[in-house]
Amino acid sequence: MPDSVLLEKYRISGEIELIGELYSRHMHLVYGVCLKYLHDREDARDAVMDIFEKLIIEFKIYVIRDIKSWLYVLTKNYCLMELRKRQSGEHRIRKWQDQQPEFMETIHELHPIDKESIKDEAKLKKCMEHLAAEQKECIRLFYFDNRSYREIASALDLDEKKVKSHLQNGKRNLKICLEDRHVKG
């Protein structure tokens, strides 16, 4: 049963098992993100359960199109809020989040290079040439030679984190270039 069907059933029946089933599919992601921000297994586990409690309520209130990305933003906001609470005891993010459901649900759009088929290959090649050398090399190895981060890191003698950031920034620049109508393939 797809996520959206489960959610629809829950909205009609209010049976918590359904939401439990839905949540358990993505729980490892929620847990991972909580770990990343809270840096503590105990806190992260508590957070996963707190977020579940929130879901029970919020799934009823809001119409959700993309459950996964919605859950992602909810998780991040929760963690941000926790961190803020630790720092200053303020709850400013929570209030914001409660009143701005449409802000939370930004549909994630795939980067052109992550799509199955690339529309304008010539333009992509041209745009690749505009990139900084390291960004270009990382993108080439990762997307065209199918190398793992680790392989690229050792090939270019870089830190794995640096490889990821080159990929990220390279992709951002690539996207700007691809969306620029003046650049022709």
Binding site: H28, M49, E53, R150, N169
Partner: protein, 443 residues
Amino acid sequence: MSKDKIHIRKDLQNFLDYTGDRMSDRERNAFEKELQKDPFASEALEGMSFVNPPDLASDMADLQSQLKKRITIRRRVIIYRIAAAVAIFFIISASLLTVYYDKLGLFRGPVAITEPEKSEFASPAPEPSETNVQQQLLHEQQSKADKPEHQDMGKGITKTTRVAIPEQISDTEGKADRVIISPSPNEPCEEEADVTVEDLENVSGSNESAPAALKEMIYTRGNGALSDKIGAGMVTGVVLSSENKTPLAGAVISLKGSNVTAITDLEGKFEIKAGGTGQEILVVDFIGMIRQEVPCPDNKDINILMDPSNEASEDVLIKGFGSSIASVKSETARSFQTGDEASTGTYQPASPADGYRRYRNYISENINYPGSTELDKAVVVLGFVVNSSGKPEQYSVLMSPGAAFSNEAIRLLLHGPLWIPAQKNGKYLPEETRIRIVFNRKN
């Protein structure tokens, strides 16, 4: 459903295999490509890498069983809630019935609560002195209204103003000579009057029979106490940048060791409730500037110069301010009246959604120094509004040495990470935010 379960396990298994290094490089690349498509999964992996894979597996099993427990507890809670609702319903209906019978006089239980209070009014018992003062006043200025109302009035004022109106008010306010105040020395009259104008309004408003003169008197008192309080401790001043002596809007001034704060307006001006003791210290903060601590002056007017911070990481300096400053200020002013410091704490300037540190990293990694210039350092200040979906828009260049710098700064802003808009009381505030981008030749 069973198909899904296999799918879940496989998804989690991928994470376990990846962190546990049980994948070939081709498999790693395929998984990494999936992560590139899915920021949720990619961040989750970052978090999972803090934990040993076996621990991760046991944590997940633990969470699954916790989830099951929660669901069963939840179900029980619902049943309890229904039971509780029924019980409350019975209690309420029972008590309503009791009251109803009371009124009819059919039921003689523990009733007649209002009687003793009435007898209090009837006997001219010695009241606290303030009340006496009020009563005197009322006698002098109004003789037609009946007695119980006088006492109500006196009581009402006593409650809201809480304590005596000090003599100094009659000194500062000319109109106050209409008011005859004679606090007896043995009464606790010297406490500061905690007067709230609104409360006084309520009192006078609720008592329609009170004559206009009396209302006026009440206002005079309220304002007298207020202006007296501000006059004793307001410091005003201007915060400027030492670089080019331009005013800094949105700098935060706070009184050391207290929660009294103020924010500078567009012209860098501020007003803060401080001064008088000669020992207070003002702390001035502006992102990207070195924190300043200055002794609170007696002359009540001060210029504060701030030096830019030289930290390399401080390439991006951001401060929210703008259209809402006026309302923030009035809020602050209100808080003097109500004595409620907390009401100022609900304003939140715009900030990058991922935090300032990451935003700075983004800028420093993506900034291109314009080639067509001989400057070695340049500062661009942009003003913009964060829209309700977190994107910067309506930008304007507030300071820039040239178009090449402005364009690069605008490019960075518009193609950069999202922002959390400014909020007040949790509500979106379309106010202007400023960002300061420093270009250094060496990068």
